[in-house]
Symmetry: C2
Subunit: 198 residues, 2 copies
């Protein structure tokens, strides 16, 4: 259009998830017209993150240092590991404010066809931590899919070999969920997992 | 959380229009996990645009050069100027593919309380172009608001002083608009502006 470098910026912004041509246009024009300081900050923080962020040597989550802040936090329970698939899942579990233990991030799930085997998921590293002792429970918070279930089962077997018990997140009707809109599979799990009222 | 520079990046992305905490998180994690090249490109194109993009000396639209590509394009009709409020409006009119003339971007609309007078909108510059001659029509494509109307009237008066005719975009029912969902004001304009069927 009138400015090739603006068009370049719009094209680049389209790589963001959920952002198409219109949104990218709106974002670029907003940044240039109204908030050049924010534009500068976005570019700066992206470059900083690209340079700084690596994977924690202990839990494989994103970290600025070799061992991440969560792993270094002594106030967190050290005897529980919550195994999740992605760093986004750590954010999700943290937002529940119901968990105070450590994490282990698989960065994927067992899926041999996609090239994700135990090596890619760092399962040797996880097993080593289980072997070192001090861990009482592994909470398997992998996704509620076939692959997530297989991954959970694989890790549960590993944990059992080291005498560590495993648990899986409860499945059922989400909070505020109307029965009418809950799918059959979920309802079937909610029925079979029904809990006695005392 | 686990990485302060990731948190910084998420906070910076929240400055984008329509992006809250959740979307910013999803964007940052997507860029770091799956598309570091796109991340690099976003930062690079933002910095390039901030450095390169300025306002065209002729039409005030964004441009990489002193005079923008649209103004330099000889194939465009030079005798018509379409006056719009923002660079985004230029994109909108261009997308209609129904206009082949030049533009003039006000970068605002008359609104004395917000400090937008004729000087801020570059109206002197526009008047000079009208005075130089060669322009047959000014299409006033300012927004369909009270301030947009006042701005259009002001420019129409200026154009009239230089013997240039002005027009305003037609108002009525949008394409595909169901009568049931059109507001009363729009319907009233559509009625008073009704057109004879030949």
């Amino acid at each position: 259009m009138s400015s090739p470098s603006l068009d370049e910026m719009i094209a680049a912004l389209k790589a963001l998830p959920g952002v198409g041509q219109k949104s990218a246009q709106r974002m670029a024009l907003h940044l240039l017209e109204r908030d050049q300081q924010a534009a500068r900050r976005i570019a700066q923080t992206i470059n900083d993150a690209l340079e700084t962020v690596r994977h924690c040597q202990r839990c494989r989550n994103f970290s600025d240092t070799d061992v991440c802040e969560i792993c270094r936090d002594d106030r967190r329970e050290q005897n529980t590991i919550c195994v999740v698939e992605t760093p986004a899942d750590v954010y999700a579990v943290e937002s529940s404010a119901a968990y105070r233990g450590r994490y282990f991030v698989l960065l994927g799930r067992l899926s041999p066809l996609d090239g994700y085997g135990p090596d890619q998921l760092g399962l040797e590293q996880l097993e080593q931590q289980l072997a070192e002792g001090g861990i009482d429970e592994v909470i398997l918070a992998t996704s509620a899919t076939v692959e997530g279930d297989i991954t959970a089962q694989y890790i549960a077997d590993t944990a059992a070999r080291h005498g560590v018990s495993s648990s899986r997140l409860a499945r059922g009707i989400p909070l505020g969920g109307e029965l009418e809109f809950v799918d059959g599979g979920t309802l079937s799990r909610a029925l079979s997992g029904r809990q006695q009222i005392d």
